[in-house]
């Protein structure tokens, strides 16, 4: 077991974890942050995407011990004081989700995309979300959601 200290969605947490424990398992099993989900075993689907020190990562590809000392933001930490993040709002506005399973990862990746490229073209959005799979929407409305968020200044 290894002791880790980190900040998750604004709260300081400390735990003893097995060295092999993945960050996504830590979030779900130790912290109950079940908003972040697991969709594959090969880091293809991106459903587990969170922000690690402000950058999107697939949390199945990070060991919990690697997050020691870091700041992690999950889908559950995005809304502030009950106010949705613009990207969350845009996904709802543009019907960018159906079953919602890919949505946490898709939103976290979209925020990162807009941070790096506040006014992306459709093609830049499509390439920027390539690592996140969705089986419901055909991506059409996800792309629209990101465009909508960009138009609303969603990079913030």
């Amino acid at each position: 077991m290894t002791r880790i200290n980190l900040t998750v969605d604004g709260d300081k947490v400390a735990d003893d974890v097995e060295p092999r424990m993945l960050l996504v398992q830590y979030l779900r099993e130790k912290l109950g942050k079940t908003g972040t989900v697991i969709g594959c075993d090969t880091s293809n689907c991106g459903a587990c995407t969170v922000h690690l020190d402000g950058t999107s990562v697939k949390s199945c590809n990070v060991l919990a011990v690697q997050a020691d000392g870091a700041e992690v933001t999950t889908i559950e930490g995005l809304a502030q004081d009950g106010e949705l993040h613009q990207v969350q709002e845009s996904f709802r506005e543009c019907h960018g989700l159906q079953c919602g399973f890919c949505t946490p990862g898709m939103i976290m990746q979209s925020i990162d995309l807009l941070k790096n490229n506040p006014k992306p073209s459709e093609q830049e959005i499509r390439v920027g979300l390539e690592g996140n799979l969705c089986r419901c929407t055909g991506y059409h409305n996800i792309v629209k959601s990101v465009q909508h968020a960009a138009a609303q200044g969603g990079a913030q």
Partner: protein
């Protein structure tokens, strides 16, 4: 006494944002795998690496010694109590179906089958221990190739998936229009066309696909209450409850099934699974809550697959293109077992090969075949995409053969709008439609004439990138289904749906539906329906579903049925509420019932300004201080609706594909579709359903295929190899609608859940072919990978290049001593 209320505006037709989304976009979700209960133990499955083998020994001692392992269970341990997984649709009385134990007992019949179950205190420890179970297998010949399996007999020594059955043939199902009295004799039509018309004979391959919902399946069972509660990532909690009881002998009244948030299904969760039965069994044995969540590779390997047919079509026509007959001969791969409705899926296509056309003679033959591969069952469209692909491919082939415009040929044969209702050669009555209008609309959206002009220009200039235009004028039967029809097809259940409307004292409304959503937006759409019906605010309606203790009765969600069957049940329940409330309103208003009218959420007395809002009646009913004699103090109402017919969405889908003739690369340029799904409750949800459906159908055309190697191992067992499309692979779509309301439900709606998937596959493949037919290419098997397209062009051009050998799967490099080839080059006969 009279409350002032703004006249509510119509909710139906509004692009309401979804009620479901607030939780889903904030991570406040309840996927089955999120559930943890005190004392809960976890399962891991030990699965067979062999497609067909005898189990000669299982040594569990090392696994039992592994930390925190509670129990290790083999098939032999529970052989007498585990039961056999159900098949709800034996398509013929003499259907051959092997027993289907959740845990294999002495023989495994596909790679991925469960052989032993580890129970441990954590999921990780269960998986660790699964590695330690030592199993001896004696490999047996595996039936893998569908055509070879169909021919295998004990006499010819062909591999049998289940040697004790003596055959791989499960059932033969036939429909003949002459025998049914719905049309002429197809063999005569074909014979005649051979002398004075044209006969097309084609064989198409429907490759095996994997539903690949995003949420891996998960089941939690809690046996600590009076009822045993199962949470499962399922589309069918009600059917699951019934079948758990039927198979295990546990009283149905002692079982509660909950489908909490479910992350997509697409037919893939229309199943009762070995994993569900095993979790149920272990929980009962241990008296403790048990959880099992599959990995993605387990999901791809052992969740059911879809499609997998060889389709032999014979189409006869007069020289002017008037089709005179269609004969269909299918081979359908069931995989290792006849799954819940596995045998019936191809039969759902039996009524759809004739599609939108007025064929005078039709015959459908289907042979289902057992093999040593993962079992197949419903995948989005289930039987209808296969049929639509076959007919829309061969209609375009016929147009090419005759040298006429593919639309001209279709129009010559399709049902004209003034001919509805129309009884087809397959015996169905299509209630409404307008193929002309949808086609005109789609062509305009698409810019059909301009793209045809560009196609000609590219052809004439010999551009290395050629353009192809693909057409799919599809229809489908959905809204499963009239119970009588299901009965006539030997299906094991009815096709009704149930709803309840509860009026709460505060004027809020709870709607219970037996249709179980997993992404479709029932809560939003059903709220819109009830808001209009009862005149209450959209926000004041709560839709409850997916828990057999709450919405106790239902037939669940599949076959594009929720709105057209379930929505109609909601309408009927709401109407009963109004009837009940009217009696009380008349009493309170001191008027005759005949003088009381209901509109906009208010009961009013004709010719007066007196009235009461529905909410006031609800409160008065709750108080029950002043009700008419003999009237029960409740407005709550139930309804169960059984449709009188399927319904028949249709549409015209147009796809433009660019084909690089030097590399075989195909790129989608434009996709436009005009769908007619009758009246639309929520256009936003409808568009979403179409977008997602389109991409699943396009993915069949271009990317997806479940590939087995020669040993029967699934080599596309992860998202690295099973190519789900990404945002970068796909484009945005142009969609529009025409509206021919259904005449068999009061809302005039038709199903939309499967339309996109059913329509799009042939549009894409027809487009690819349209680009390269000029070189003499007649067929390219799906998925139309660059390699296949390139090879088709070069073969047709008479290229003298060496035969491209089947590509070795990279992780089966010969130097590793493991051999395996994919069938991506040859087109997939496995």
């Amino acid at each position: 006494m009279t409350a002032v209320q703004d006249a509510p505006t119509a909710e139906i037709g509004k692009d309401r944002r979804r009620k479901e989304d607030q939780r889903l976009i904030t991570g406040r979700t309840r996927w089955t795998d999120n559930i943890t209960l005190p004392g809960m133990v976890h399962l891991a499955m030990v699965r067979s690496p062999f497609a067909h083998a005898k189990i000669t020994n299982i040594n569990t001692s090392a696994a039992l010694e592994s930390p925190n392992v509670v129990r290790v269970i083999t098939g032999a341990d529970v052989a007498d109590e585990q039961g056999s997984l159900p098949n709800a649709w034996p398509i013929t009385p003499d259907q051959v179906a092997p027993a289907h134990p959740p845990i294999a007992v002495d023989r495994v019949v596909f790679a991925g089958e469960i052989v032993a179950v580890i129970v441990a205190r954590s999921a990780a420890e269960a998986r660790d221990a699964a590695e330690l179970v030592d199993i001896d297998y004696e490999p047996l010949p595996a039936a893998l190739d569908l055509k070879a399996a169909a021919e295998a007999t004990p006499e010819n020594g062909g591999a049998l998936a289940h040697p004790e059955l003596g055959t791989n043939k499960s059932a033969f199902w036939k429909f003949d229009s002459a025998e049914a009295g719905t049309g002429g004799n197809v063999d005569e039509a074909i014979a005649k066309a051979r002398t004075d018309g044209v006969v097309l004979e084609r064989e198409y391959r429907q490759q095996r696909l994997i539903p690949a919902f995003m949420e891996p399946r998960s089941t939690v069972v809690d046996p600590t209450g009076e009822q045993i509660t199962m949470w499962s990532a399922t589309q069918i909690p009600h059917i699951l409850k019934f079948l758990l009881a039927a198979v295990t002998g546990v009283s149905e009244a002692k079982i509660r099934v909950i489908a909490p948030d479910v992350g997509g299904g697409f037919g893939g969760k229309l199943q009762t699974t070995p994993e569900e039965f095993i979790t149920f069994l272990v929980a009962r044995k241990l008296g403790k809550p048990v959880k099992y969540t599959e990995t993605r590779s387990e999901s791809l390997m052992a969740g059911h697959h879809g499609r997998d047919q060889w389709q032999k079509l014979t189409l006869s026509a007069e020289k002017d293109g008037t089709v005179t007959g269609l004969k269909v001969e299918l081979l359908a791969d069931l995989g290792s077992h006849v799954a819940l409705i596995g045998g019936g899926v191809p039969v759902l296509g039996a009524f759809m090969f004739n599609a939108i056309y007025k064929f005078p003679a039709y015959q459908f033959n289907c042979q289902t075949v057992l093999t040593n591969k993962t079992w197949t069952d419903a995948y989005r469209g289930a039987g209808r995409p296969e049929a639509t692909f076959g007919i829309e491919r061969i209609m375009s082939d016929l147009a090419a053969e005759l040298g006429v415009d593919p639309f001209e040929l279709r129009e010559k044969n399709w049902i004209k709008h003034e001919e509805f209702p129309f009884t087809t050669v397959a015996g169905l009555e299509y209630d409404s439609g307008n193929y002309e209008a949808a086609t005109a609309n789609a062509k305009a959206m698409f810019g059909y004439d301009e793209l045809r002009a560009e196609q000609m220009a590219r052809r004439e200039s010999g551009d290395k990138v050629q353009l192809g235009i693909g057409i799919s004028t599809f229809t489908e039967m959905c809204g499963l289904a009239p119970s009588r029809v299901l009965g006539s097809l030997d299906y094991g259940a009815g096709g009704w749906e149930h709803a309840s409307v509860r009026m709460l004292p505060t004027g809020k409304v709870e709607v219970l539906t037996g249709a179980t959503a997993h992404g479709q937006g029932h809560a939003t759409a059903f709220s819109q329906i009830v808001a209009d019906r009862l005149g209450v605010a959209f926000e004041d309606i709560e839709v409850l579903h997916g828990d057999t203790a709450i919405a106790h009765k239902g037939m669940d969600t599949y076959g594009s049925r929720s709105l057209v069957v379930g929505g109609e049940a909601v309408v009927k329940a709401a109407d009963k509420v109004i009837e009940k409330a009217k009696v009380i309103a008349a009493h309170l208003l001191e008027a005759s019932e005949d003088d009381v009218e209901f509109a906009g959420g208010r009961f009013t007395v004709k010719g007066t300004d007196q009235g009461l809002a529905m909410a006031e009646i609800a409160l008065a009913t709750f108080a029950a201080h002043n009700l008419p004699d003999g009237v029960e103090p409740s407005l709550d109402s139930d309804a169960t609706f059984d449709p009188v017919n399927f319904n028949y969405p249709h549409g015209t889908h147009l796809c433009a594909m660019e084909v690089d003739t030097e590399t075989g690369q195909v790129t989608m340029r434009k996709y436009a579709a005009c769908d007619d799904i009758g009246n639309i409750i929520n256009p936003l949800i409808v568009e979403g359903q179409l977008h997602g459906g389109l991409v699943q159908g396009i993915a069949q055309a271009l990317w997806e295929e479940a590939v087995y190697d020669d040993a029967g191992t699934l080599v596309t067992g992860s998202f690295v190899d099973y190519l789900l499309p990404t945002s970068a692979d796909t484009i945005s779509f142009d969609l529009d609608h025409t509206t021919s309301p259904a005449t068999t439900n009061t809302l005039g709606t038709k199903g939309v859940g499967e339309a996109g998937t059913i329509a799009s596959t042939p549009a894409v493949v027809n487009a690819v072919l349209d680009a390269v037919r000029q070189f003499g290419v007649q067929d390219i098997r799906m998925p139309c990978t660059p390699e296949r397209v390139w090879k088709a062009i070069n073969d047709a051009r008479g290229g003298a290049q060496a035969e491209t050998v089947a590509a070795a799967a990279p992780h089966f490099d010969a130097s590793t001593g493991m051999e395996g080839t994919t069938d991506r080059t040859s087109g997939g006969s496995a």
